[in-house]
Symmetry: C3
Subunit: 154 residues, 3 copies
C-alpha cells in the first residue's frame, strides 16, 4: 500500500445555536445543533446536526448524541451515553441511506445513567434509565429502567 497523508480535521463548535447561559467544556465536537438556555455540555462530547437539547439539560463528558435525536428540558444525560439512529435494519450499516435511520425523542425531566445505550425510541417524561442500561424499546410509562435489554424495575 503506498503511503499517503490523511486529511486531518479538527473538532470544535460549528453552526450551533445557543440559548442564554450555556457552558461548554472543550474539547467537544458540536455542529449544526441547537442547545437551549442554561445547558451544560461536558468535555469529550459529540453532538451532531439537527439535534435539539432542551433548556437546563446537562450532557456529561464522553457522550455522543447523533442526528435525529431530540432531548427535552431539564434532562440529565450521564457520562458515556451513546444514542443511535442506525439499527443496521437491512443487515448492516446504512451508510449514506439516511432514509433507513430512525428518530429518538427524549421527553422532559428524563435522567439517563452513565454508559447507557439508547436505540432509536421514544422515552417519556420523567423516565429514569439506569447506568449501563441498553434501551431497545419505547419507554411510555415513567419509572426506573435498567439492564440489557432495559426493563422496568419492580
Amino acid at each position: 500500500m503506498p503511503e499517503h497523508l490523511p486529511q486531518v480535521l479538527e473538532c470544535g463548535i460549528r453552526d450551533v445555536v445557543f440559548g442564554a447561559g450555556v457552558r461548554v467544556v472543550q474539547p467537544v465536537n458540536l455542529y449544526g445543533c441547537r442547545i437551549e438556555d442554561s445547558c451544560f455540555i461536558g468535555p469529550f462530547v459529540e453532538i451532531q446536526k439537527d439535534v435539539r437539547i432542551g433548556a437546563r439539560t446537562r450532557v456529561q463528558s464522553h457522550s455522543f448524541i447523533c442526528e435525529l435525536v431530540s432531548i427535552g428540558d431539564d434532562c440529565f444525560i450521564g457520562h458515556g451515553v451513546m444514542f443511535i439512529n442506525d439499527t443496521f435494519a437491512t443487515g448492516g450499516v446504512s451508510g449514506g441511506r439516511k432514509d433507513l435511520w430512525r428518530c429518538t425523542s427524549v421527553g422532559n425531566r428524563v435522567s439517563i445513567g452513565s454508559n447507557a445505550t439508547i436505540l432509536p425510541v421514544e422515552i417519556c417524561d420523567d423516565a429514569i434509565i439506569g447506568a449501563g442500561a441498553v434501551v431497545t424499546r419505547p419507554i411510555t410509562v415513567p419509572g426506573r429502567y435498567a439492564g440489557n435489554p432495559a426493563r422496568m424495575l419492580r
Copy 2:
C-alpha cells in the same frame, strides 16, 4: 430563542496533587484530585475533585471517575469505565443535592475491564470485574464478576 455565545471552558489539569513518576496523556480533565506515585492516566479521561488514585494504578483512556470515589494501589481501570455517585434515588438526578450522592471505594489490586459501569459500592481487594459489567452491589469476595448486573462467575 435569541442566540447567545456560550461560556467556553477548557479541560486541563487543575489543583491536582501528584506523587512521583506519574504520566498523563492529554487531553484530560483532572481537577482537585490526588494521584499517587507511578500512576498512568490515559487520554480523554476525566477525574473529579476529592478522588484518590492509589500508587501504581493505571486509568486507561476514556474513563470517568467522579467525586466520592477512592481507588487503591496497583489497580487497573480499563478504557471507558464509568463510575457513578448519583443513583437517582429520589426519582431523578440529584442535581446540587450532594447529600444524596454515595461513595465508591475500590480496594487494592483490583482489575476493572473496559466499558464497565460501577455504581456506588465497595469493591474488595483483588476483585476482577469483567469488561462491560455493570456492578450494582458491593463486592466483598475476591473473584471474577461479569454481566449486567454483575454476578460472580462459577
Copy 3:
C-alpha cells in the same frame, strides 16, 4: 506524600501508515498502526500499535482499538466501542506480560453498534453486533448478535 510534577504527554498521530483518502478528526491518539484507503476515524479515538484497519472502514468517535486487533474492509465500528486484549486470565491485569494477551480478528463488512465491548475473539465476515453488546465468544456464523453476553438473535 511529597508533591511532584507529572510527565505530561500529548496525544496525536505518530508512526501511522495511511492509505489514500483517509479522514481523521482530531483529537485522536493513533500510533504505530495501519489505516487503509478511504477510512474515517472520528474524534476521541485511540488506536494502538500494530492494529490494521481495512479499507473503507469507519471508526466512530470515542472508540478504542487495542494492540493485537485486526479489522477488515468495509466495517463500521460505532461510537464508544472498546476492544480488549487482556482477559485478566491469570487473576488480574497482565501488565507487561504480553504473552498473556490475546488477538481479535474482525472480518469484512462487519457492523459493530455503539458502546459494544469486544473480548479477544474472531468475528466472521458480515456479522452484525448490536449496540451495547458484550461479545465474549467467537462469532463464526453471520447474523445479528446482541446482549451481555452477546447471543445470536432469533
